[in-house]
Amino acid sequence: MSAAPVADWPRDIHAALAAAEIRQVAYVPDAGHARLITLCAGDGAMHMVPLTSEQEGVGLAAGAWLGGQRSVLLMQSSGVGNCINALTLIETCRLPLLMLITMRGEFGEFNPWQVPMGRATPQALQLADVLVQRASRAEEVGAVVAGAARLAFASYRAVAVLLSQQLIGAKSFQK
Protein backbone atom coordinates (compact mmCIF):
# COMPACT_ATOMS: atom_id res chain seq x y z
CA MET A 1 0.00 0.00 0.00
CA SER A 2 1.49 3.29 -0.98
CA ALA A 3 0.56 6.45 0.90
CA ALA A 4 -0.68 9.45 -1.03
CA PRO A 5 2.16 11.87 -1.75
CA VAL A 6 2.41 14.62 0.83
CA ALA A 7 2.21 18.09 -0.65
CA ASP A 8 5.41 20.11 -0.23
CA TRP A 9 3.65 23.27 0.83
CA PRO A 10 6.70 25.48 1.55
CA ARG A 11 7.85 24.76 -2.00
CA ASP A 12 4.38 25.60 -3.26
CA ILE A 13 4.49 28.94 -1.40
CA HIS A 14 7.89 29.72 -2.88
CA ALA A 15 6.60 28.91 -6.36
CA ALA A 16 3.60 31.19 -5.81
CA LEU A 17 5.85 34.03 -4.61
CA ALA A 18 8.18 33.58 -7.55
CA ALA A 19 5.26 33.61 -9.98
CA ALA A 20 4.00 36.81 -8.32
CA GLU A 21 7.42 38.41 -8.94
CA ILE A 22 8.16 38.98 -5.25
CA ARG A 23 11.55 40.70 -4.98
CA GLN A 24 11.88 41.56 -1.27
CA VAL A 25 11.24 38.94 1.41
CA ALA A 26 10.97 40.50 4.88
CA TYR A 27 10.77 38.22 7.87
CA VAL A 28 10.99 37.63 11.55
CA PRO A 29 11.87 33.93 11.65
CA ASP A 30 9.46 31.23 12.74
CA ALA A 31 10.01 27.50 12.75
CA GLY A 32 6.98 27.15 10.51
CA HIS A 33 8.59 29.46 7.95
CA ALA A 34 12.07 27.95 8.19
CA ARG A 35 11.96 25.94 4.97
CA LEU A 36 10.30 28.76 3.02
CA ILE A 37 13.00 31.18 4.23
CA THR A 38 15.68 28.77 3.01
CA LEU A 39 13.98 28.39 -0.36
CA CYS A 40 13.60 32.15 -0.84
CA ALA A 41 17.20 32.77 0.25
CA GLY A 42 18.30 30.36 -2.45
CA ASP A 43 16.32 32.23 -5.13
CA GLY A 44 18.55 34.77 -6.82
CA ALA A 45 15.56 36.94 -7.73
CA MET A 46 14.54 37.40 -4.08
CA HIS A 47 16.30 39.71 -1.63
CA MET A 48 16.08 38.69 2.03
CA VAL A 49 15.47 41.32 4.70
CA PRO A 50 15.55 39.97 8.26
CA LEU A 51 13.76 42.32 10.67
CA THR A 52 14.15 43.07 14.35
CA SER A 53 10.37 43.46 14.72
CA GLU A 54 7.43 42.77 12.47
CA GLN A 55 6.23 46.34 11.96
CA GLU A 56 9.47 47.11 10.14
CA GLY A 57 8.19 44.89 7.35
CA VAL A 58 5.11 47.04 6.85
CA GLY A 59 7.28 50.09 6.21
CA LEU A 60 9.58 48.06 3.98
CA ALA A 61 6.64 46.87 1.88
CA ALA A 62 5.50 50.46 1.43
CA GLY A 63 8.94 51.60 0.33
CA ALA A 64 9.38 48.64 -1.99
CA TRP A 65 6.07 49.41 -3.71
CA LEU A 66 6.95 53.09 -4.04
CA GLY A 67 10.10 51.92 -5.78
CA GLY A 68 8.29 49.49 -8.09
CA GLN A 69 8.96 46.18 -6.34
CA ARG A 70 6.71 43.62 -4.71
CA SER A 71 7.47 42.21 -1.29
CA VAL A 72 6.15 39.65 1.15
CA LEU A 73 6.18 39.79 4.95
CA LEU A 74 6.63 36.53 6.90
CA MET A 75 5.91 36.29 10.60
CA GLN A 76 4.42 34.23 13.39
CA SER A 77 1.04 35.17 14.86
CA SER A 78 2.74 36.64 17.94
CA GLY A 79 4.11 39.41 15.69
CA VAL A 80 0.77 40.62 14.38
CA GLY A 81 0.15 42.92 17.32
CA ASN A 82 3.42 44.70 16.63
CA CYS A 83 2.13 45.77 13.21
CA ILE A 84 -1.15 47.44 14.05
CA ASN A 85 -0.28 51.14 13.89
CA ALA A 86 2.07 50.65 10.95
CA LEU A 87 -0.83 49.06 9.04
CA THR A 88 -2.56 52.44 8.93
CA LEU A 89 0.04 53.32 6.29
CA ILE A 90 -1.22 50.51 4.07
CA GLU A 91 -4.89 51.40 4.45
CA THR A 92 -4.46 55.18 4.09
CA CYS A 93 -2.18 55.02 1.06
CA ARG A 94 -3.97 52.07 -0.61
CA LEU A 95 -0.76 50.06 -0.74
CA PRO A 96 -0.53 46.34 -1.43
CA LEU A 97 0.78 44.16 1.38
CA LEU A 98 1.07 40.37 1.40
CA MET A 99 1.55 38.79 4.82
CA LEU A 100 2.08 35.08 5.48
CA ILE A 101 1.48 34.30 9.13
CA THR A 102 2.22 31.01 10.83
CA MET A 103 -0.24 30.37 13.63
CA ARG A 104 0.58 29.57 17.21
CA GLY A 105 -1.71 29.04 20.15
CA GLU A 106 -4.52 27.26 18.35
CA PHE A 107 -3.67 23.54 17.89
CA GLY A 108 -1.83 21.42 20.41
CA GLU A 109 -0.07 24.47 21.80
CA PHE A 110 2.26 23.72 24.72
CA ASN A 111 3.12 27.32 25.59
CA PRO A 112 0.23 29.19 27.21
CA TRP A 113 1.87 32.54 26.45
CA GLN A 114 1.18 31.96 22.75
CA VAL A 115 -2.56 31.56 23.20
CA PRO A 116 -3.80 35.17 23.65
CA MET A 117 -2.18 36.60 20.51
CA GLY A 118 -2.97 33.50 18.50
CA ARG A 119 -6.63 33.82 19.45
CA ALA A 120 -6.65 37.57 18.70
CA THR A 121 -4.79 37.37 15.39
CA PRO A 122 -7.68 37.10 12.87
CA GLN A 123 -9.75 39.84 14.51
CA ALA A 124 -6.77 42.11 15.13
CA LEU A 125 -5.92 41.95 11.44
CA GLN A 126 -9.52 42.52 10.40
CA LEU A 127 -9.79 45.55 12.69
CA ALA A 128 -6.74 46.93 10.88
CA ASP A 129 -8.51 46.52 7.50
CA VAL A 130 -6.48 43.48 6.47
CA LEU A 131 -8.24 40.83 4.38
CA VAL A 132 -7.72 37.55 6.22
CA GLN A 133 -7.53 34.17 4.52
CA ARG A 134 -6.52 30.79 5.86
CA ALA A 135 -4.79 27.67 4.62
CA SER A 136 -5.09 24.53 6.72
CA ARG A 137 -4.40 21.64 4.34
CA ALA A 138 -1.02 21.12 2.70
CA GLU A 139 -2.51 20.65 -0.74
CA GLU A 140 -4.36 23.98 -0.70
CA VAL A 141 -1.53 26.22 0.52
CA GLY A 142 0.00 27.06 -2.86
CA ALA A 143 -3.30 28.08 -4.41
CA VAL A 144 -4.35 30.13 -1.39
CA VAL A 145 -1.07 32.06 -1.39
CA ALA A 146 -1.18 32.61 -5.15
CA GLY A 147 -4.71 33.96 -4.87
CA ALA A 148 -3.80 36.17 -1.94
CA ALA A 149 -0.84 37.62 -3.82
CA ARG A 150 -3.00 38.40 -6.83
CA LEU A 151 -5.64 39.99 -4.62
CA ALA A 152 -3.11 42.14 -2.72
CA PHE A 153 -1.23 43.48 -5.71
CA ALA A 154 -4.19 43.83 -8.04
CA SER A 155 -6.49 45.50 -5.54
CA TYR A 156 -3.90 47.51 -3.55
CA ARG A 157 -4.95 46.00 -0.23
CA ALA A 158 -3.38 44.24 2.71
CA VAL A 159 -4.01 40.49 2.58
CA ALA A 160 -2.89 38.04 5.26
CA VAL A 161 -2.78 34.28 4.84
CA LEU A 162 -2.93 32.44 8.16
CA LEU A 163 -1.10 29.12 7.98
CA SER A 164 -2.86 26.91 10.52
CA GLN A 165 -0.86 25.39 13.35
CA GLN A 166 -2.33 22.04 12.39
CA LEU A 167 -0.59 22.40 9.02
CA ILE A 168 2.75 23.24 10.56
CA GLY A 169 2.54 20.85 13.49
CA ALA A 170 2.61 21.87 17.14
CA LYS A 171 6.07 22.78 18.39
CA SER A 172 7.64 20.08 20.50
CA PHE A 173 9.31 21.08 23.75
CA GLN A 174 10.59 17.55 24.34
CA LYS A 175 14.17 16.54 23.74
Partner: protein, 198 residues
Protein backbone atom coordinates in the same frame (compact mmCIF):
# COMPACT_ATOMS: atom_id res chain seq x y z
CA UNK B 1 21.73 68.62 27.04
CA UNK B 2 25.40 69.07 26.68
CA UNK B 3 25.77 71.91 24.15
CA UNK B 4 23.64 74.66 22.66
CA UNK B 5 21.89 73.57 19.49
CA UNK B 6 21.58 76.50 17.11
CA UNK B 7 21.04 75.16 13.60
CA UNK B 8 17.89 76.49 11.90
CA UNK B 9 15.83 73.50 10.72
CA UNK B 10 14.45 75.26 7.66
CA UNK B 11 17.93 76.39 6.57
CA UNK B 12 19.23 72.85 7.08
CA UNK B 13 16.53 71.27 4.93
CA UNK B 14 16.68 74.01 2.30
CA UNK B 15 20.41 73.36 1.98
CA UNK B 16 20.05 69.55 1.79
CA UNK B 17 17.38 69.83 -0.93
CA UNK B 18 18.84 72.80 -2.85
CA UNK B 19 20.24 70.57 -5.59
CA UNK B 20 18.11 67.50 -5.02
CA UNK B 21 17.98 66.47 -8.68
CA UNK B 22 16.51 62.98 -8.80
CA UNK B 23 16.76 62.45 -5.04
CA UNK B 24 13.97 60.29 -3.61
CA UNK B 25 12.81 61.74 -0.28
CA UNK B 26 10.83 60.14 2.54
CA UNK B 27 9.99 62.30 5.54
CA UNK B 28 8.80 61.36 8.99
CA UNK B 29 5.57 62.85 10.28
CA UNK B 30 5.36 66.37 11.67
CA UNK B 31 7.93 69.11 11.41
CA UNK B 32 10.35 67.35 9.03
CA UNK B 33 7.46 67.05 6.55
CA UNK B 34 6.69 70.74 6.95
CA UNK B 35 10.39 71.58 6.48
CA UNK B 36 10.56 69.58 3.25
CA UNK B 37 7.38 71.25 2.00
CA UNK B 38 8.72 74.71 2.83
CA UNK B 39 11.80 73.88 0.74
CA UNK B 40 9.55 73.00 -2.20
CA UNK B 41 7.03 70.19 -2.59
CA UNK B 42 7.83 67.51 -5.16
CA UNK B 43 6.13 64.34 -6.40
CA UNK B 44 9.36 62.55 -5.45
CA UNK B 45 8.75 63.45 -1.80
CA UNK B 46 6.73 60.96 0.26
CA UNK B 47 5.80 62.73 3.50
CA UNK B 48 4.26 60.70 6.31
CA UNK B 49 1.31 61.93 8.36
CA UNK B 50 1.29 58.88 10.64
CA UNK B 51 2.80 55.39 11.01
CA UNK B 52 5.33 56.85 13.44
CA UNK B 53 8.58 54.90 13.48
CA UNK B 54 8.27 53.70 9.89
CA UNK B 55 10.18 56.36 7.92
CA UNK B 56 13.57 54.64 7.92
CA UNK B 57 12.10 51.32 6.80
CA UNK B 58 10.17 52.94 3.96
CA UNK B 59 13.49 54.43 2.90
CA UNK B 60 15.11 51.00 3.05
CA UNK B 61 12.45 49.33 0.89
CA UNK B 62 12.73 52.15 -1.61
CA UNK B 63 16.54 52.08 -1.63
CA UNK B 64 16.58 48.32 -2.24
CA UNK B 65 14.06 48.67 -5.07
CA UNK B 66 15.94 51.57 -6.69
CA UNK B 67 19.65 50.91 -6.14
CA UNK B 68 20.72 53.43 -8.77
CA UNK B 69 18.86 56.31 -7.11
CA UNK B 70 19.86 58.25 -4.01
CA UNK B 71 17.28 57.97 -1.22
CA UNK B 72 17.10 60.36 1.75
CA UNK B 73 15.00 59.81 4.86
CA UNK B 74 14.46 63.07 6.72
CA UNK B 75 12.89 62.59 10.12
CA UNK B 76 12.80 63.77 13.71
CA UNK B 77 14.42 62.42 16.83
CA UNK B 78 11.13 61.20 18.30
CA UNK B 79 10.21 59.35 15.11
CA UNK B 80 13.67 57.79 14.86
CA UNK B 81 13.59 56.69 18.49
CA UNK B 82 10.35 54.82 17.81
CA UNK B 83 12.05 52.86 15.03
CA UNK B 84 15.48 52.19 16.49
CA UNK B 85 15.38 48.55 15.45
CA UNK B 86 15.28 49.66 11.83
CA UNK B 87 18.83 51.00 12.24
CA UNK B 88 19.97 47.44 12.96
CA UNK B 89 17.99 46.15 9.98
CA UNK B 90 19.54 48.78 7.70
CA UNK B 91 22.96 47.95 9.14
CA UNK B 92 22.51 44.38 7.93
CA UNK B 93 21.40 45.46 4.44
CA UNK B 94 23.92 48.32 4.06
CA UNK B 95 22.36 49.93 0.97
CA UNK B 96 24.94 52.33 -0.45
CA UNK B 97 22.23 54.66 -1.80
CA UNK B 98 20.41 55.33 1.51
CA UNK B 99 20.95 58.29 3.84
CA UNK B 100 19.14 59.09 7.09
CA UNK B 101 19.16 62.65 8.43
CA UNK B 102 17.55 63.08 11.85
CA UNK B 103 16.54 66.65 12.67
CA UNK B 104 17.19 66.46 16.39
CA UNK B 105 15.66 69.24 18.49
CA UNK B 106 15.52 66.92 21.50
CA UNK B 107 11.77 67.51 21.64
CA UNK B 108 8.42 66.04 20.62
CA UNK B 109 7.50 69.15 18.67
CA UNK B 110 3.91 68.22 17.75
CA UNK B 111 2.77 67.39 21.26
CA UNK B 112 3.99 70.26 23.43
CA UNK B 113 7.79 70.21 23.12
CA UNK B 114 8.32 67.50 25.71
CA UNK B 115 11.91 66.26 25.90
CA UNK B 116 12.87 63.14 23.93
CA UNK B 117 15.53 60.69 25.02
CA UNK B 118 18.16 62.61 23.01
CA UNK B 119 17.75 65.49 25.48
CA UNK B 120 19.17 63.09 28.05
CA UNK B 121 22.21 62.06 26.08
CA UNK B 122 20.96 59.21 23.90
CA UNK B 123 23.37 59.34 20.97
CA UNK B 124 21.63 58.30 17.76
CA UNK B 125 24.78 58.67 15.67
CA UNK B 126 26.64 56.29 17.96
CA UNK B 127 23.77 53.80 17.71
CA UNK B 128 23.85 54.01 13.90
CA UNK B 129 27.62 53.52 13.92
CA UNK B 130 27.17 50.52 16.18
CA UNK B 131 24.61 49.12 13.75
CA UNK B 132 27.14 49.21 10.91
CA UNK B 133 26.31 52.35 8.96
CA UNK B 134 29.19 53.17 6.63
CA UNK B 135 29.26 56.77 7.83
CA UNK B 136 27.64 58.26 10.92
CA UNK B 137 28.08 61.72 12.38
CA UNK B 138 26.59 64.46 14.54
CA UNK B 139 26.30 67.77 12.70
CA UNK B 140 26.17 71.10 14.54
CA UNK B 141 27.00 73.65 11.81
CA UNK B 142 26.01 74.53 8.25
CA UNK B 143 29.40 73.50 6.89
CA UNK B 144 28.58 69.99 8.01
CA UNK B 145 25.18 70.20 6.33
CA UNK B 146 26.69 71.37 3.05
CA UNK B 147 29.20 68.53 3.17
CA UNK B 148 26.38 66.05 3.81
CA UNK B 149 24.34 67.47 0.93
CA UNK B 150 27.30 67.03 -1.40
CA UNK B 151 27.60 63.36 -0.37
CA UNK B 152 23.96 62.34 -0.83
CA UNK B 153 24.48 61.43 -4.45
CA UNK B 154 27.78 59.58 -3.96
CA UNK B 155 26.11 56.32 -2.96
CA UNK B 156 28.76 55.45 -0.39
CA UNK B 157 26.31 54.81 2.38
CA UNK B 158 24.38 53.97 4.28
CA UNK B 159 24.86 57.42 5.79
CA UNK B 160 23.49 58.59 9.12
CA UNK B 161 23.46 62.19 10.34
CA UNK B 162 22.12 63.40 13.66
CA UNK B 163 21.56 67.10 13.01
CA UNK B 164 21.34 69.16 16.18
CA UNK B 165 18.78 71.90 15.48
CA UNK B 166 17.27 74.67 17.57
CA UNK B 167 13.96 73.84 19.27
CA UNK B 168 11.84 76.42 17.51
CA UNK B 169 8.58 76.20 15.59
CA UNK B 170 8.61 77.77 12.12
CA UNK B 171 5.32 78.46 10.30
CA UNK B 172 3.41 75.40 9.09
CA UNK B 173 3.99 74.38 5.46
CA UNK B 174 1.72 71.40 4.86
CA UNK B 175 2.11 68.83 2.07
CA UNK B 176 -0.92 66.99 0.65
CA UNK B 177 -2.28 64.56 3.23
CA UNK B 178 -4.17 62.08 1.03
CA UNK B 179 -1.94 59.02 1.29
CA UNK B 180 -3.19 57.48 -1.95
CA UNK B 181 -2.43 60.70 -3.81
CA UNK B 182 1.07 60.87 -2.30
CA UNK B 183 1.75 57.27 -3.31
CA UNK B 184 0.35 57.62 -6.81
CA UNK B 185 2.18 60.83 -7.64
CA UNK B 186 5.45 59.35 -6.35
CA UNK B 187 5.12 56.20 -8.44
CA UNK B 188 4.04 58.11 -11.53
CA UNK B 189 7.03 60.44 -11.24
CA UNK B 190 9.51 57.63 -10.56
CA UNK B 191 8.15 54.75 -12.63
CA UNK B 192 6.12 56.48 -15.33
CA UNK B 193 2.47 56.26 -16.27
CA UNK B 194 2.71 52.52 -16.96
CA UNK B 195 3.50 51.79 -13.30
CA UNK B 196 -0.05 50.98 -12.32
CA UNK B 197 -1.21 49.29 -15.51
CA UNK B 198 0.64 46.01 -14.95
Amino acid sequence: MSRANTLDRRAVVRSLLARRGGLLLVTGLGAPAWDATAAGDSPLTFPLWGAMGSAAMIGLGLALAQPERAVLVLTGDGEMLMGLGSLATIGVQRPANLALAVLDNERYGETGMQETHTAHGVDLAAIAAGCGFAQSETIRDMAGIEALGARLDARQGPLFAQVKIAADTPPLALPPRDGALLKNRFRAALLGPQADLA
